[in-house]
């Protein structure tokens, strides 16, 4: 049976202007799979759920997007032992978010890879700093922008999350402001003298295993009327 399928109309209905042709599938995070399955299960057993409220995240919204990082690594000109473990420009393309959609969540996920991967020993900690609006030229270290996060964490288990809602709203309202985020990771207790080969090896691994993404939740008012607001 052949379908005279109004493909274009259906794609527009999905909010797409042409058939996507991805080169490879991005990894789907557990939370999106869980939300999908919870919704499918509810629909199958006939339990009606508020489609404009993401219960698993506790925010309003009916469209969830996971944006991959499109930035690049930066290399400082100092000697290896004095330079940070890792410097990267993180960039997320928010152009997929339509003007009529309201941003209700923007969560940065930093996955540093399995910590068994890095045998640095327990006494070393990570110092992460995120700088908004870095001015990066030719991949050299940017001029300082607005320090956004400075966090010292023991070598992390799993993914680190940061709330970027206000930053993402800024970027969405004025895209020219979206210069990305400058991420710098230092390893606290990093001995300045002499190149610690083990540390150098770990930083090289970190550069391979780092995976950054931005989970964005929006509410489309045309599809989510006020009545669908969470029942009081």
């Amino acid at each position: 049976q052949t379908f005279q399928f109004q493909e274009h109309a259906f794609l527009q209905f999905l909010g797409l202007d042409k058939v996507p042709s991805p080169q490879k599938f991005q990894p789907v995070p557990y939370i999106l799979k869980k939300i999908f399955h919870d919704q499918e299960t509810a629909a199958t057993i006939g339990v009606s759920r508020d489609l404009c409220y993401v219960k698993e995240l506790g925010v309003q919204g009916n469209i969830l997007r996971l944006l991959p990082d499109q930035g690049f690594f930066l290399y400082s000109k100092n000697l290896p032992q004095a330079s940070p473990c890792l410097q990267k420009l993180l960039y997320f393309n928010l152009s997929a978010v339509k003007d009529e959609e309201r941003l209700t969540m923007a969560q940065l996920g930093l996955d540093l890879g399995p910590n068994t991967y890095h045998n640095l020993g327990p006494d070393l900690e990570l110092v992460l700093s995120l700088v908004q609006e870095p001015h990066v030229w030719d991949r050299s270290v940017p001029k300082p922008g607005k320090m956004f996060v400075l966090q010292s964490v023991p070598w992390p288990q799993g993914v680190l999350h940061f709330n970027l809602l206000e930053v993402a709203k800024d970027w969405s309202n004025s895209p020219q402001k979206n210069l990305g985020l400058f991420l710098e990771i230092l390893v606290k207790g990093q001995r300045d003298s002499g190149v610690n080969f083990q540390l150098e090896d770990t930083c090289a691994r970190l550069r391979c295993s780092l995976h950054a993404s931005l989970l964005v939740v929006t509410l489309n008012p045309q599809q989510c009327h006020s009545s669908s607001r969470k029942r009081r």
Partner: protein, 113 residues
């Protein structure tokens, strides 16, 4: 002395027709991560007067079928969805974004007159 009800074969009566669209048939499995297809059920069939009370029919349908019996120029009651359910779609767009969207009232679960 009841008039024998006209023999109306069940398959012509208003009911839900199941139709599954497999995204692979459309080549869309390359960008739709889940589900594998879409239940494009639809409602079709007659709503004769004698059966409007049992065919999940509304009071309105009963009255319209009655009027149609009196004056055939008035159309019969129509067969429409009476229960719908949402679907969620997990797909990837051209910017390698993974998108999860919910669409309400997408799948026909029940039909009626």
């Amino acid at each position: 002395a009841a008039i024998p009800a006209p023999k109306v074969s069940c398959k012509n009566l208003c009911h839900r027709h199941q139709l599954f669209i497999n995204f692979r048939d459309l080549g869309w499995h390359k960008w739709i991560i889940a589900p594998t297809g879409f239940m494009a059920n639809y409602c079709h069939g007659d709503c004769p007067f004698s059966l409007t009370t049992s065919l999940n029919g509304s009071n309105y349908a009963f009255m319209q079928a009655l009027m149609h019996a009196v004056d055939p120029a008035i159309p019969q009651a129509v067969c429409i969805p009476t229960k719908l359910s949402p679907i969620s779609m997990l797909y990837q767009d051209n910017d390698d974004n993974v998108i999860l969207r919910h669409y309400e009232d997408m799948v026909v679960d029940e039909c009626g007159c």
